[in-house]
Assembly symmetry: C2
Homo-oligomer: 125 residues x 2
């Protein structure tokens, strides 16, 4: 595993722990100001950090406590300055376990990886 791949795996672990801890400043710590979010529930898309954090407020309103939020099957494709990640996410909605698909896009800015895009989804029913 390259250093960039390890750094991005560490970033995902910090981020998912922040979600489990409902630590709002931790959740946004490694995100770009203009992040584009495609989330599981509506809206169709959310642009910018404030809109991104609104998706987490919605998540916390419907998720069982303590919060379950972790990833398996993480695959990091990292170039020198752009990377993307695919993974399977696991959480527990009120009432039932829920697996979802995650794709994440990142840019390296001043030597540090920043998340500029997230796409969380379920297959359509």
């Amino acid at each position: 595993m390259t250093q960039d791949q390890q750094d991005i795996r560490n970033l995902i672990e910090r981020w998912s722990r922040a979600v489990r801890d409902q630590d709002h400043s931790g959740i946004r710590a490694d995100h770009a100001d203009d992040i584009l979010m495609f989330d599981v529930p509506p809206p169709f898309l959310s642009r910018g950090l404030d809109a991104y954090m609104a998706t987490w407020s919605l998540f916390f309103s419907s998720v069982a406590k303590p919060v379950v939020f972790h990833f398996t099957d993480i695959e990091v494709t990292a170039g020198t300055d752009v990377a993307f990640v695919t993974a399977i996410g696991h959480c527990v909605d009120i009432g039932e376990p829920l697996d979802f698909r995650l794709t994440m896009g990142l840019r390296k800015v001043a030597g540090r990886w920043l998340i500029t895009h997230e796409h969380h989804s379920l297959p359509a029913t």
Copy 2:
């Protein structure tokens, strides 16, 4: 726009035209053998070119003809060897227009961009 961004936009245009033409060899022409597909309908994921092409057979069985399939809001984040794309897709299911979210991941292999991941989704209802 950089040459890499232009090359990737051209690739997306070729791919979406192949879908409109139901040109199966054109659809898979710029894809890696081990592509990971997160599609709108089930299954949860599809791995490899044969499974990827099965998702298109399913698509052609339910889409209105002639096939509508094009993208707006295309944003290409291209590094030297890894890139990702976000876009809004437009198609017409039998009966109704359907907009969906697209994320695509690419690697440059021997000087040529290859799609290694696609994530197509709707917000959950």
